[in-house]
């Protein structure tokens, strides 16, 4: 990691407001610190309910933090005050959420073009890019389908390229391939790596799947159960470009897998 830190998370904490009948002092995330370098592909694994989505929500600034700070290009992002939140940091942080969050009254194509339209950047060039991405993820022919007419996996793919299409420098991904079959998943992982190789975006990629975390990432963070903290950090020094299918038998892969496996409870 020769590049400087693009995004730093420092002592971040999150506690949800209590409701009657519940323990009020339950921290979901506590004293969580890590940083991401410019152009790095960081993967995060952690058990279900460990606060991964909560973490990404805070980085994307759609949710307030209860403590700590997030710095983007050394500039402190105001995430402790709900009023000063700046979701997406002025289109510099893209976020592929765990649910697809497509607009149900818009067709797949309109959904993919949505960020370009709201940013006033819809032109021949960006439209061509959208079409290219639609083809890449195998959604060609479904442009005029409404979300409820697509399968769950297709909706996830549409929501993935909806963020890729406007090319934000940092992209957060919350289990984007969770609902896919193994075959499609591998194809999309390869596509994602190829697209990433072209543009070298900074990606923070959350997943349950240790194999996926190793296959895609430059570095993998392992989170503990709530309150989430960094249980371990693993540099994935497997050469790129990677062969996602072949990598599984690589002795180095197996060794990293064993190490991470032990840390994920």
């Amino acid at each position: 990691m020769s590049a400087q830190a693009l995004l730093e998370v420092h002592d971040l904490g999150k506690r949800f407001a209590s409701r009657a009948g519940r323990d009020s002092s339950l921290w979901v995330i506590r004293d969580l610190s890590f940083s991401v370098a410019d152009g790095e592909f960081l993967t995060i694994v952690g058990p279900s309910g460990s606060g991964k989505t909560t973490l990404l929500n805070m980085i994307a600034q759609i949710d307030v933090a209860s403590g700590g700070e997030v710095r983007f290009q050394s500039e402190v992002a105001p995430i402790n005050d709900p009023k000063s939140l700046n979701p997406g940091l002025s289109c510099r942080i893209g976020y592929v959420t765990q649910e697809d969050n497509l607009l149900p009254w818009r067709t797949m194509l309109q959904n993919v073009l949505f960020p370009l339209v709201v940013q006033g950047r819809l032109n021949d060039e960006t439209r061509a890019r959208a079409e290219m991405l639609i083809r890449t993820v195998g959604l060609a022919g479904f442009e005029n389908h409404y979300p409820h007419e697509l399968s769950g996996g297709m909706r996830k793919r549409a929501s993935l390229i909806r963020t890729l299409v406007y090319d934000p420098p940092v992209i957060l991904m919350d289990e984007p391939f969770g609902a896919l079959d193994a075959q499609t998943r591998t194809v999309l992982q390869e596509d994602l790596l190829r697209l990433w190789n072209l543009g070298r975006k900074t990606i923070i990629f959350v997943t349950h799947d240790i194999t996926e975390a190793i296959a895609l990432g430059d570095r993998t963070l392992v989170l503990t159960r709530a309150p989430a903290r960094v249980a371990g950090e693993h540099k994935i020094d497997l050469p790129r470009p990677r062969d996602i299918r072949g990598i599984l038998t690589d002795p180095k892969f197996i060794e990293i897998y064993q190490r991470i496996r032990e840390q994920v409870q």
């Binding site: 759609i62 979701p87 002025s90 893209g94 959420t97 969050n101 607009l103 009254w105 949505f114 709201v118």
Partner: protein, 272 residues
């Protein structure tokens, strides 16, 4: 498996068609029964109380030909439309403004909810006192009666919008105005149309009631004027026309709703 599917596919359309025939036939029979009951009632009660349906039909035709009824319908429709537009405008815009001012909303919400309870028709004498006997008092009445259902529905619709969609749009750089128009407005369409189905017939009834009391034209005037002249046939003709008006407006509304909300899966199923 496949053969069973095809069998079902083949069976279904004819079954649906058959069911459709039964429903249509049932409706015709019911209509005939209703007119028959009306006719018997008219004969029993006498022409002062219940007009003969055939005389009513006859009356509608002649008064339509003469242009009299057309004029009254035009006057009533014009007032209903203007009053509806005013009430609808405020009913939609106000909740969107309040969305941006949560504290003000909390402060005034109990007052708005309390004002729902005011019987609007009871205000007509006040409106006449304040606004004279032209269109103004009727417009106030129609506007208020339309405003409330729409305001309440849009207000509830805004509260009901999926936060995640709003967050998604924000992250992608959508302005608040765009979020209001694209995400919130589209999300609350079903609320809005449900309110329209209440508000539109209300606009017509409110106009007619207003016309009972002030003015010298409109369906309400026509009905009341006929009554004062012991012209029960005229009263019934006016009621039939008013009912027809509401039915036409409702069917147009249902069609618009279906067109606009074609993306919704349930609507498709219901169209079968």
């Amino acid at each position: 498996m496949t053969s069973q599917d095809t069998a079902l596919d083949l069976a279904q359309p004819s079954q649906v068609k058959w069911r459709q025939y039964v429903v249509t036939a049932g409706r015709i029979v019911l209509a005939i029964l209703l007119v028959a009951a009306w006719k018997i009632g008219a004969d029993r009660a006498g022409p002062i109380y219940v007009a003969d349906p055939f005389l009513v039909a006859n009356r509608i035709v002649t008064d339509t030909m003469s242009g009299e009824l057309v004029h009254h319908v035009y006057v009533t429709l014009r007032l209903s439309v203007i009053g509806f537009a005013i009430g609808c405008f405020f009913g939609v815009v106000l909740p969107f403004l309040l969305r941006r001012l949560p504290r003000l909303t909390d402060a005034i919400e109990p007052y708005i909810m309390a004002s729902v309870g005011i019987p609007k028709y009871a205000l007509i004498p006040l409106f006449i006192l304040w606004f004279g006997i032209d269109d103004a008092p009727k417009l106030w009445l129609v506007g208020l009666l339309v405003f409330y259902p729409i305001f309440i529905a849009v207000f509830a619709g805004i509260r009901n919008v999926d936060r995640r969609l709003i967050n998604m749009a924000r992250v992608m750089g959508a302005s608040e105005a765009m979020i209001s128009r694209e995400v919130i407005w589209n999300s609350l369409q079903s609320f809005f149309f449900a309110a329209l189905k209440i508000a539109l017939p209300r606009a017509i009834s409110a106009t007619i009631i207003g016309e009972f009391l002030v003015g010298n034209a409109g369906l309400g005037f026509f009905i009341e004027y006929s009554r004062q002249n012991f012209d029960t046939t005229g009263v019934f003709a006016g009621i039939v026309i008013a009912t027809a008006l509401v039915l036409v407006i409702n069917s147009v509304l249902v069609r618009i709703d279906r067109r606009l909300n074609a993306w919704r899966p349930t609507d498709r199923d219901m169209e079968l």
